[in-house]
Amino acid sequence: MFGTYNAPLNITQEGISLSVQKDGKNLIYHRDCLGGQVEKHLLASKGKILLNPVEPVNRPKALTPYLLIEFEKALLSKPKETRTIFLRFPLEIGVYISTDTDFEILDIFSLTNHKFTLYGDPRNGVICKYWKSPVYSTIPSLSTLQEGIIELTITNTNSHWIEVTKAIFNAYGMKVYYNKTTASMKANINIKTKETAETEFIDTPLQKGMKKSLEIYASRKISVVKPKFIMEFGL
């Protein structure tokens, strides 16, 4: 599904119906997904449409730039050891329309159920988009547009065994890559103490041939102040 298309177009996949049709001299964008519909008039006679996965913190509402992934089973990290695991993250699909020079976001939709959670206490904590994922030792095969894969490299810089049950990521630093069927990200989590860790994204694709998604936050010209996230309220 991901990729660049020339309007007019018509895509139907996994309950998503997406079309850009001619309406006189203009175009009409229509999207139907999980009962939610969006229709927009595009005042142009032609254009390119780009479908790519975006930072998964925009739906149902862009309340927070943080994504919390809770592990289905807790991990115990060996002291001074680095290991790589794979997780699933909720997928949000961005629809962009392009002019000759740049792309503009037209729509964002998702096939997943959404949930939010609080990390920390109500006074000092942060609201996060919530997702629960199994932990994999090898790249899982995903066949739906509901989830992507995140490769997480866990480094325990501490001299004790430390239990990790979740990871929180800042969307401002997210680097999402995709091919025709899969979306992916790569991130690090550096464990400092039993209660604190730091997460950051790596700007490389999970597999060869993957393309980099357009960053929504970058396109809104919000400067990247803190691309890292410091988990200070427990792991």
């Binding site: 149902p60 509402k61 159920n113 949930k115 939010f116 609080l118 109500p122 609201i127 919530y130 919000i222």
Partner: protein, 273 residues
């Protein structure tokens, strides 16, 4: 020359022109710096912090301009300091409330119990903080009125800030009939909360039988939601809970009282014979 014409003591026309130029320059610099600060820091600093920073910079520029202008107008700053003691006393008495508001305003800016954009309750006035000036604070009430509160009043009043924390809890009391299965009702309510995207996973919602009331078994429902969304979630969920319970045959009872008549048996006996 006309520029050298003395108007008052040693103040010449040239001095007045200089004063006017400095005033205009100070205003232009103040406006320009404020504009650029707002433009460049808009996305980097919180709106409340930015407004305070802009005000501090503007007032600093105004004070510097004043300190430059006064000697030109023949006012000696050293003399001002001596005179300031006496004048300050007189002005202090005359402008007690203004100074009180000013100092309270400074304390409000430092302590920051409220910020621009917060929904607050100040001494019974509920509204959204529009601006925190040096003398007063303006609120936009929920019915769209503008209320100006002197900072002294704001500083000494009881303040409830509904948006200070990122999440807040709200509560319902749902009564079900004594004949209904309260466990089933709790399960239905929990499922509804779980399905709603804007109710928080953590802190976890609480649903439990709280009391055995006169007419109903009372179930308490406590839900956490993001502080910006709680009201919408609260208004939306209550009706959904009512509909979901009714769909499963669980009803929210009206107040009722069972009345026993002392002579009921004898009346029944006499009517039956």
């Amino acid at each position: 020359m006309i520029l050298n014409k003395v108007l008052y003591r040693s103040v010449t026309v040239f001095d007045l022109i200089m004063v006017a130029i400095i005033l205009v320059l100070a205003m232009v610099i103040g406006k320009t710096v404020s504009l650029y600060l707002r433009r460049f820091l808009k996305e980097k600093i919180e709106k409340g912090h930015l407004e305070i920073l802009v005000k501090i910079v503007s007032y600093t520029i105004a004070v510097i301009a004043l300190l430059i202008i006064l000697p030109i107008l023949g006012v000696k700053l050293s003399g001002l300091l001596v005179a300031g003691g006496i004048a300050g006393l007189a002005i202090g008495f005359a402008s007690q409330s203004v100074i009180g508001n000013l100092i309270s305003g400074l304390f409000l800016m430092v302590e920051r119990p409220i910020q621009i954009g917060n929904t607050v309750n100040i001494d019974g006035t509920v509204g959204i903080v529009e601006d925190i000036h040096i003398i007063s604070t303006t609120l936009r009430t929920l019915d769209g009125l503008l209320v100006r509160l002197p900072n002294q009043k704001v500083f000494t009043a009881d303040i409830t800030n509904y948006a200070a924390n990122v999440a807040r809890r709200f509560e319902y009391v749902v009564g079900v009939r004594y004949s209904d299965d309260a466990d089933k009702a709790i399960e239905i309510i929990k499922n509804l909360i779980k399905q709603h995207p804007l109710t928080l996973k953590n802190p976890a919602p609480m649903v439990f039988v709280d009391s055995l009331g006169e007419s109903s078994v009372n179930i308490i429902v406590r839900i956490w939601a993001p502080a910006t969304e709680w009201f919408g979630v609260k208004t939306e969920l209550l009706w959904k809970i009512k509909q979901a319970l009714e769909k499963e045959g669980i009803e929210i009872p009206f107040p009722q009282r069972v009345v026993w008549f002392a002579n009921e048996l004898s009346e029944r006996g006499s009517s039956g014979s």
